[in-house]
Symmetry: D2
Subunit: 372 residues, 4 copies
């Protein structure tokens, strides 16, 4: 279990890091939505390894080959599916890993749950590589949301000790102007310096990723078990290495007084708004029309140059492991487009439930017809 | 939507704060599990208002009346259901609220989504009162887990500026020795002082609640979309006022280096363990046998004595609201047993999927038979 | 498991035949839909025992006490829930049954699955009594569908050797003019005669129940695993004693030639129609705008005066059982309103997914407002 | 929606009849189960077109290319996925169909629901071709069940007016000895004669397919909404052209007296059995240990040589359609392996829920280890 999520919009993944291919099935998109494959390719590129010196040097094109669900770049009503072939797979790097679980990775838990037939190479289906089909599917949802006037911005707010409080970058894709996915040049410069040092030490860094969603209608989402927060949180924890999520002021609430953080209500141009947005746009599980705001934290890459102690699964002997494979000094950087597009999947599912497929079809009015 | 959660163990809630009753249906427990209604009553008492000066003075017994699923304190294989009648309901307190949404509450979002027929009194089904049936159902699951050797401890680590790093209290119920649910007397004294001051100011405080789960078998849970973290997180966000969750070192990872936080592996008495537990017992979505550790944050009660500005829903005029109803200075205190028992529901669902119902039935071997 | 069903509209049942109460939770109705409790009471009456000499003489009022989800007869956006208290419960009738499973009932399978703690009295949660909350919930859905111009008619087409091919009765409630739920007086007279004979012999009869749904929009439902046929079928098999379902010409297709049964298409007033309706209004899992037509079969009541051989669960000895309790000569008769209202639940779920909640809210336009 | 089904074992399909490929994702198989790809290939062969003169002459190898979930023919714990490339696709045959929906097919309903971007060629995702990945996934489940001592036999009981009451064929694969999938040579001869005549007339025939499952443990399955009958029925209706299902005596119950059909209980070698099996092995939704027995009906192929009247979607003009594509005279024949393997998917899901993954792992004890 674990390969499917969603209610009205259901995403299923398949594949393993070092198998022939990984892919996705996205079921629930109404027919007639325009989808740009180029746009999807651009998003794949943002998640792709070897983008900069700060991401692993494994070279993969990550081309999405669509197998169903589209006719001439429009959804046809069926499940949209696609595969990404695994290239540049060097399994011998992983020979040692089979018997010596890497600390901080899922190697040991994979062995404990699945035993000797597990796909240990490169983390198998626990690998960060499984986020590639998430980005592919999410880029489709994001396109649809964009046309509905919804914009999702993600960026890095903190890498190690470098924290940037400058707020979101310019525009939905603003962070991709910088290798560090920080929101502006100044923060990027500081983070770059730190990352270079960390790389040269063979160490890694954690990161905090911020997301802001603008344009979500007020009054969508459900209370209690289907809250917008709960739905987003559940999906986010599918991202390997993500260990926390907070909405609005989040953990800052613990040290706050009510009088400092209650979001007072006012009316602006006939729209209810709040003077502050400590609740991150969600109250009672339901959107209030303010931007949705949440942060997630990514732990530092566990694969570092420093020797780490582990135990051989067959002999039970202690073993010191020096990881060799190709890895990122800060997996948070490549997680940015994953968080961003994953948010699109969750929100589109929520909108489909609350507004019905009709609101999406209305977006496509006056569209071109299929060719003869 | 929003009233059901779970896979093999499915919880459904019903009711509203000021309706005749609230209740739960818990479907998926195998037959023959021993359940103590007294134990459930004890848990209800821990969540109940008017427990101390730090919780709202609304007086309700919160007796759970079981309607199905039990025969002489054993599960009978059917859905276990129960109702809790709402008593001491003073709806007139809420007349003003109908038209003047309280800032920080779900009043406005409830109006935006559900319109004029919504149950605005006391927050309706967005009320913290909906956590009473969660505790009822969760107390049943916790009993079952306890007999399987699993213990869940929750306590308050932080209230406002008082932070307590003393670790968990003694035993599963240790925190209930103290009105503040802090883990020991010293922390309790400090927090009590702060709470008294806050009460006298008519203000409120946020809180951080820690949870530690011991005895969960290694190798349970699923990767990707059904990760242990994702399942716990999704349930936690059903608790009104909860705005963040982190596992293990959580947001502390953002400022960390990999070399400081990778959990090295060793073998102790034939069991794999890690020297540190920064990952909170979960890697790749699956348990590694170390204690599961997570923190959640609860925002300060939004109902405070300070006048708050809002907008009248009918006239659109600005309005200053002074909340009168009965409320807690720190809702985090009463959320402790909710977090604790909710964790039990999620974990029992996971165990049922991974180990099958049989492992639970095995716990009851040598049990007494039903009376003639 | 087994107590919940549905996607956007989720029904959860609880209770046992001889426990204190049975009930339902219906989650997913948009706010503001008008619901008549009297209409629900009328449907409960149609399913109620002791309606005529052809139904069991157990006397229960089956009053539905709503616990949530309504404000002044309008849905309030939360889960609608209700309980029906079990009255007139004579458990001593069932003492013998505990150890001697009644042939044809679920007594043995309940023992095999749930063991000694099972609620054997009156069939527990396998009892036909569990259909009472289905009717309660379904009557709500049917009211909503009726206002959307959708009518669901169910009637008995066959009881034992009496078959009636006169087509549907007049109007949605037409069959309730007759004790036998046959569509007209002539068929009713023939069936009554047969039922009287059967009663006097202490025997029972099977039945075939037909259902016709008019006014369902064309183009709703989903292909493959969420087909309209599959959704209806899955729900129908929750009715105890129901052993088959067929759509349109159903099993008659087996002996047919394609040339005889293909439904040719024509246009009438701008609407696509078919000259015949052998497919029962559904093709490819999706409605085509013709009436949905399906039949189900109910087996004869297994509780008959004739002595039946069984085996004592404790001693393993053969035992001859003469059933004493109060029962129907043809359970098919009381199943008619169950089939009818259950169909409403399934269809409303499908419409909510395909058309969104908005189409329902539009039905209520110009409605009255809540009282001050 | 419509591309996923299942609880603990979840099947997702993707693809369209005339797209590049169709495929499946099967999530929930425990690691370490032995799977023979040759066995899967053999099942694909049984469903494959052009097997005999009685099946369409479209020639496709239907090779399943596994993309994940296996290591050296053992499940690895992840989702098993596979694709089948569409070959021999002649889309020009379908040019006429785009605007002129074929009576009896889903062409019109696909247009009504999905509009102009739908994949009309060959029925798109409403095509019988979507059953190929069902057979692929089901053949895996069937192998697992077989090792657990469970055997599923399907065969044709009736084609048109030829009915065969000889009972099941010899062994699980017995029906495949005959082109007509009848259980023995005599019935096969009669059915062949009829089919030849029908072919020469350019007509088609319906069929009744019987299934018997032996070796399912008693006491599995759930009551009410997750009954074994309901689960099987829901899956079966995903098969295009299937219009009815009945368990045990099924519709024959309508004309029966209780005294004739109640299955009396006896004990044989310590096992509860029933003297007759009118209930088809299921009571109260739960298995009683007798063989599970159900019949489904397949309508005649709608594509026949006889001209059929339809309406042009663009002009609204009546049109007479003469179908040219390659088709089966009796789609029931090729549906036999689909019904059989689909049953395996449903039952394995039920067993996983009731017995847990452990019972499957126990089957593999003493198995070989992965190669170094």
């Amino acid at each position: 279990m674990g390969f499917s999520i969603g209610h009205q919009l259901r995403l299923t993944l398949f594949g393993e890091s070092h198998g022939p291919a990984i892919g996705f099935v996205l079921d629930g998109l109404p027919a007639g939505l325009k989808i740009s494959k180029e746009e999807t390719a651009a998003w794949m590129e943002r998640r792709r390894p070897a983008q900069s010196i700060f991401t692993t040097q494994r070279r993969e094109r990550d081309d999405v080959i669509f197998l169903s669900g589209l006719r001439e770049d429009h959804t046809n009503g069926g499940a949209v599916s696609g595969v990404i072939y695994n290239q540049d797979v060097i399994s011998k790097h992983y020979d040692e890993i089979r018997d010596n679980p890497r600390p901080g990775h899922g190697d040991l838990t994979m062995f404990l749950k699945y035993g000797e037939w597990r796909p240990y190479e490169g983390g198998g289906f626990l690998s960060g590589r499984m986020t590639a089909p998430i980005v592919a599917a999410g880029s489709i949802c994001l396109q649809v949301l964009n046309r509905a006037g919804i914009e999702i911005v993600s960026w890095i707010e903190q890498i190690g000790e470098v924290r940037c409080d400058h707020g979101p970058p310019q525009g939905q894709d603003g962070a991709y102007a910088f290798d560090t996915r920080m929101p502006d040049g100044e923060c990027d410069a500081r983070a770059s310096l730190l990352l270079r040092d960390t790389l040269s030490e063979g160490d890694s860094l954690g990161a905090r990723i911020a997301t802001e969603v603008r344009g979500v209608p007020a009054g969508v989402g459900d209370p209690i078990f289907d809250s917008v927060e709960g739905e987003i949180a559940r999906f986010m924890f599918s991202i390997p290495g993500l260990k926390g999520i907070e909405f609005g002021r989040g953990f800052g609430f613990a040290g706050s007084k009510g009088s400092e953080v209650v979001d007072e209500i006012f009316l602006e141009d006939g729209i209810f708004r709040t003077r502050s947005n400590n609740n991150g746009g969600i109250l009672g599980g339901i959107t209030n029309g303010m931007p949705i705001r949440f942060d997630v934290v990514m732990k530092p890459t566990s694969s570092i140059r420093k020797p780490l102690r582990t135990v051989n699964l067959k002999t039970g002997e202690e073993k010191t492991l020096r990881v060799v494979g190709r890895h990122d000094p800060c997996i948070g950087i490549r997680a940015v487009p994953v968080v961003q597009t994953a948010t699109a999947i969750v929100l589109l599912d929520i909108l489909l439930r609350d507004l019905g497929p009709g609101f999406l079809r209305a977006l496509e009015e006056g569209h071109e017809e299929p060719e003869d």
